[in-house]
Symmetry: C2
Subunit: 162 residues, 2 copies
DNA sequence: TATTGTTATACTCTATAACTATA
DNA sequence: TATAGTTATAGAGTATAACAATA
């Protein structure tokens, strides 16, 4: 408990994780933009395509949950992707309220092509850090990403204020 | 060059870095919120205090650049912090346009106390991953954070569109 | 003329609420 | 009655533009 007593002024040995992660996420996202532009994709369109490519997703509601986006936000994106022939959207025969989503061949090809170029650039950046640290970074990121978000946030989210 | 030819459909061995980093940054930032609330700090107020604590910053313009925020955005935050006695703000005698900024004793104590609690929570989360990977993660994040942002973004930022 | 800080305004992004159709 | 998708509206957050003081 004595780390409590001197916690008031002591300098920490590292910066906060969010303070390091957020600018890096921003920088890598910025690095994606010219590549996505070259493939005529917005960031959200790319997120949707990759999510559909990596997971078998049925409805728009599930896609919204998987991407963390609001369900109303992905609608114009889906409209555009469908008009360009990158996804198929058709009513579920079992429940005609639901719209089933699927990548077309060209949708899969396009997002994988963009992703390959993005990750090639990322590897160039990662090549600048120590190989052992780089491997640890990738394993740690995968492990942290696999945790349920509440294990990180502590879900002290909305304490009911009565 | 043959990785070009099959890049169209091949599944990558990992997700994009931004796709992993952004949700983690979000989750760790969310974890900070209840702690900051307990110290009566907003996220931006905390960012300002930590930035002043970690770097010797003179003017508001330099603070804005260091935090990545627009100069107009930090003004109401500085007003509040000054009113609460957490920072001092006074004109530079050498150039009376410039407002010099400095943490007060209480400002330093408050942000270090919040930071200690934040990092204690972070360590609990980090304890869940392999110690070697955890060490590699922290070294890799420090190394990547030390890079100029343009080394990650590739500064293909604003191609002049004449 | 150029720069620091400030204020007021406009814009972008995102979520909320209201509606249709299916169940 | 409840849910999936859609549309229209309102709100939060952010940047842009105009201004005063100083150099």
């Amino acid at each position: 408990m004595d780390d409590q007593s001197d916690a008031g002024r002591a300098e920490p040995s590292r910066r906060d994780l969010a303070a390091m992660l957020a600018p890096l996420a921003q920088a890598f996202a910025t690095a994606e933009l010219p590549i996505l532009r070259a493939h005529n994709l917005t960031m959200w369109a790319y997120v949707v395509l990759i999510t559909l490519a990596d997971n078998p997703i049925r409805s728009q509601a599930r896609l919204a949950a998987a991407t963390g986006a609001d369900k109303t936000r992905i609608i114009p994106i889906l409209d555009d992707l469908q008009a360009r022939g990158l996804i198929d959207r058709y009513p579920d025969p079992a429940d005609r309220r639901v719209h089933l989503l699927a990548l077309t061949d060209e949708g899969l090809r396009l997002c994988r092509a963009a992703q390959a170029q993005i990750q090639r650039h990322e590897e160039e950046v990662l090549a600048r850090i120590d190989p052992a640290d780089r491997a640890g970074l990738l394993r740690a990121l995968a492990a942290l990403s696999a945790l349920p978000a509440e294990e990180i946030t502590g879900d002290h989210e909305s304490p009911p204020t009565p």
